[in-house]
């Protein structure tokens, strides 16, 4: 070390100077830094090649795997290099710094308190009524400010939650608009149907299952609802609204794919498993004089998941 520094602060500098030659804390972690440097150089060259390959791959419109692997290779080379550089080529320490107390000391805090609370009293002191009014106006504005943020977004809930587009006499049609005739579907078959004119409607989507050739009575009062063995249930699960698309023919059950609620089709789609709490609404059907299936009326209860009745 220089003579000047030796004279400046003798004790501290001297101690460090003596240690410096052999003080491991000031030396890099690597026993052989040259090797690490060569390794880093190699990695950077490899990285350059990777990125160049990426450019070439992009130029020739190579597939995602080539593009991604060259990109990953380049980044990996850079990453490993930087880590090697930072970990093995720099003084390994450990180094420390002092922690200062988070809280201010008494004088600072008192001064701050005087500024904030003390001078604040100039504004607010003995004007509690004004402060209350200030609170009131802020509160009212805060509440009113949420109105356009929420109410303007869309319409209020309406009766569409309680009704679908099925009506008395609605023709049962497939997703192609083709009406369903009573002889069309064999026993064990199922398909998705809609009321005529509303193909694709979410709320009106209905599962039509032919479970038998004879009428089926699923519950008392539903004697005429399933003529010729055709059961029609709302396709919208009463749990969280997914379309129920699994019909297990042998178990005679519908299974919802989202959370595995299971419904017995022969007793009114009663849920027998899973989280669905209510049975699927059944659509009452009848067969018109030309043999087409039609609905007797809309569903007798709201379809889909439960909601708070507004």
């Amino acid at each position: 070390m220089t003579q000047d520094q030796n004279q400046k602060e003798p004790s501290k500098t001297l101690k460090l100077a003596d240690d410096l030659k052999s003080d491991a804390r000031f030396l890099p972690l690597a026993k052989n830094p040259k090797l690490i440097e060569n390794l880093i150089a190699l990695l950077f060259i490899l990285g350059i090649l990777c990125f160049a390959a990426l450019g070439a791959a992009y130029w020739v419109n190579a597939n995602t795997q080539v593009l991604g692997l060259t990109l990953a290779g380049g980044f990996a080379c850079m990453g490993v290099s930087f880590v090697l550089w930072g970990r093995y080529l720099l003084p390994k320490g450990p180094f420390s710094e002092e922690r200062h107390p988070i809280a201010s000391n008494t004088q600072e805090f008192e001064a701050f308190k005087d500024s904030f609370i003390g001078r604040g009293k100039l504004a607010f002191g003995r004007r509690k009524f004004l402060v209350k009014l200030l609170g009131a106006i802020s509160g009212v504005f805060g509440i009113v400010a949420t109105f356009p943020l929420l109410r303007s977004l869309g319409p209020n809930p309406d009766a569409s939650l309680f009704r679908t587009e099925w009506r008395k006499g609605s023709l049962v049609v497939t997703f192609e608009g083709r009406p369903v005739k009573v002889d069309d579907i064999d026993v064990g078959g199922f398909l998705t149907v809609f009321p005529e004119g509303h193909v694709g409607s979410f709320v009106s989507q209905t599962l039509l299952i032919r479970a038998s050739t004879q009428p089926i009575v699923t519950r008392p009062g539903r004697e005429t609802w399933a003529p010729a063995g055709y059961l029609a249930y709302s396709k919208v699960c009463t749990h969280a609204g997914c379309p129920i698309s699994l019909y297990q023919q042998q178990f005679e059950q519908l299974l919802c794919p989202c959370h595995q609620s299971m419904f017995n089709i022969l007793d009114g789609a009663e849920p027998v498993f899973g989280p669905a709490p209510r049975p699927l609404p059944q659509l009452p059907l009848y067969i018109d004089d030309q043999g087409y299936l039609r609905a007797q009326s809309d569903y007798n209860e709201p379809i889909g998941p439960g909601f708070w009745d507004f």
Binding site: K12, G154, R278
Partner: protein
């Protein structure tokens, strides 16, 4: 500086120094800059988990910017006449069409999309392990409660943003998730149906406005809040300084580790590139969310095996294992999906937010803490944390009941009943076991997991037994090794280090005399006689 600089050296201005001076005269970097450069970052590996999250977020933003240049947030219906035959002629939303084009017809598009999606999964995984580390080491205690609250807020916002993000392509699987979200919103008492109708523009599926709204939330509003909160999170970390594990030389009043510049800066940048490399490799090799195979969302179609992304899995699992209960009070109903999908996360996140204060109240400990706990020395907290984690794990696995039943060839019903019961039993069992393990580990102290020295049992000629320690083998934990004392980064040390940089060279550049003093392969400092 040394007086020994020659005249020529004094006149030659270092360009870097001139540049620094230029900046300093305008931005006062000299005043606070040293604080930042000297800032010490402890080196423990578990302190880098938050960095995984931070750098995944950087990748998310960069890849996300690319995606926004191609994705069109519109629910308008259009017919596909593009290059992918199985979709040719099908009706789909413009959002789905733009996502398909981006994936199959835009150069680099699929890689960017897959990197974006993998980065999101990794981002949330990193948040989870980082949060677990903070919890188990007690880093949330005073003065860091605010940082903890910011972190939990970041968790909630990131989960939401992830959900919105993978729902943007409007494919068959994510569209089903949107329907479930509608049902969850409409299950909230008093305001649910209103909120659902307002958000969607009518009864499901609404007037199509939901897609552009999700887009704005996902691309602008939530990322801006997340970025701002990350900034605050890091600012608080810098202000409070990082915590550290107890150890030799480490006290409540210091921080021991590497200085920010250049040590930590190089290592953390390396980590940034490694994160990018892992995400790029996954984006190249592992197909994620292949929306062209799923087809467009149609409200009356659905697929099976329709789990949400992993970080929403706990909610999906909760929905599956919930028994079929519904609360009917007169004409008002609190539907089934409210309890697992609204009430459960509400309670969980409230507990998360309040935890630092709950623990401070319970332990009556209101002092500052900068030294971390080893989890084994806080068995109650560790047990509660382990139990809580295992509860979330059980819910997470419960969301894959159908895939599990298919893969293990067990009845779906049995799998579900297993989860309905085990989800409540396993956390208690795990908690109790964790508590016992912590207590046991406390007894072993520093030797836990380390190989002990052999104890030789000697029998004397008279028949008595005695024990003696065997010699330490290489690899035995040497509890008597002296750890180096940390060096404080004072001005003197800084000068030494900067001089040393000029002195220390690679071995090949050492002058001959030094090569004699220091054998080959060992670099060292040479003392230079200065004039």
């Amino acid at each position: 500086m040394s007086q020994s600089s020659s005249a020529t050296q004094r006149q030659k201005k270092d360009p870097l120094e001139s540049a620094l001076k230029w900046v300093d005269e305008r931005l006062s970097v000299g005043k606070g800059g040293r604080n930042l450069l000297d800032k010490i970052f402890p080196d423990h590996w578990s302190f880098m988990l938050g960095e995984i999250a931070l750098y995944s977020f950087v990748i998310l933003v960069l890849t996300g910017i690319f995606l926004t240049l191609y994705y069109v947030p519109s629910a308008a219906e259009v017919t596909y006449h593009g290059s992918y035959a199985p979709l040719y002629g099908q009706k789909m939303s413009v959002a789905y069409l733009s996502s398909i084009n981006l994936s199959l017809d835009v150069r680099f598009g699929l890689l960017m999309r897959q990197m974006h999606h993998w980065a999101a999964d990794i981002f949330l995984g990193a948040i989870a392990v980082h949060m677990a580390r903070i919890f188990f080491t007690g880093a949330f205690r005073k003065p860091r409660e605010l940082n903890w609250i910011i972190g939990v807020t970041l968790l909630i916002l990131s989960i939401s943003n992830g959900f919105l993000g993978y729902s943007l392509p409007d494919d068959l699987i994510s569209g089903t998730g949107i329907r479930i979200m509608f049902s969850i919103v409409e299950s909230i008492p008093f305001v649910g149906t209103y909120l659902a109708f307002w958000l969607f523009g009518g009864n499901y599926p609404g007037n199509g406005i939901i897609i552009p709204r999700m887009f704005v939330l996902h691309v602008l509003i939530l990322p801006a809040i997340i970025a701002a909160l990350i900034g605050a999170h890091l600012a608080l970390l810098v202000h409070h300084k990082h915590t550290q594990f107890p150890g030799p030389g480490k006290t409540e009043k210091n921080v021991v580790g590497s200085p920010f510049w250049p040590n930590f800066f190089f290592k953390t940048n390396g980590f940034l590139f490694l994160t990018a490399a892992v995400i790029a490799a996954l984006g190249a090799l592992a197909q994620i969310n292949p929306i062209w195979l799923y087809g467009p969302y149609v409200p009356y179609k659905v697929s099976y095996a329709v789990q949400p992304d992993w970080y929403m899995g706990w909610l999906d699992g909760a929905l599956r294992i919930m028994p079929a209960w519904e609360l009917q009070i007169g004409r008002f109903m609190i539907p089934n999906q409210f309890f697992p999908a609204v009430l459960l996360p509400g309670i969980c996140f409230t507990i998360f937010f309040a935890w630092p204060f709950i623990e401070a109240w319970y332990t009556k400990d209101h002092s500052e803490h900068h030294l971390l706990d080893f989890p084994r020395y806080r068995p109650k907290r560790t047990a509660v944390g382990a139990g809580g984690l295992s509860f979330f794990f059980m819910l997470f696995f419960a969301s894959s009941t159908d895939v599990m039943a298919n893969y293990l060839q067990i009845s779906l019903n049995i799998v579900l009943w297993f989860f309905r019961i085990a989800t409540y039993i396993v956390p208690f069992v795990v908690g109790i076991i964790t508590y016992i393990v912590c207590k046991e580990l406390q007894k072993t102290g520093e030797m836990a997991g380390k190989r002990k020295r052999f104890t030789l049992v000697l029998r004397s000629a008279e028949g008595g037994y005695s024990t003696v320690y065997a010699e330490a083998r290489p690899g035995d934990k040497d509890v008597f090794a002296k750890e180096p004392e940390p060096v404080e980064l004072t001005e003197e040390v800084n000068e030494l280090l900067s001089e040393q940089a000029e002195l220390i060279t690679t071995a090949s550049e050492l002058p001959e005399v030094v090569k004699e003093t220091f054998p080959k392969g060992q670099s060292g400092v040479k003392t230079v006689a200065r004039d």
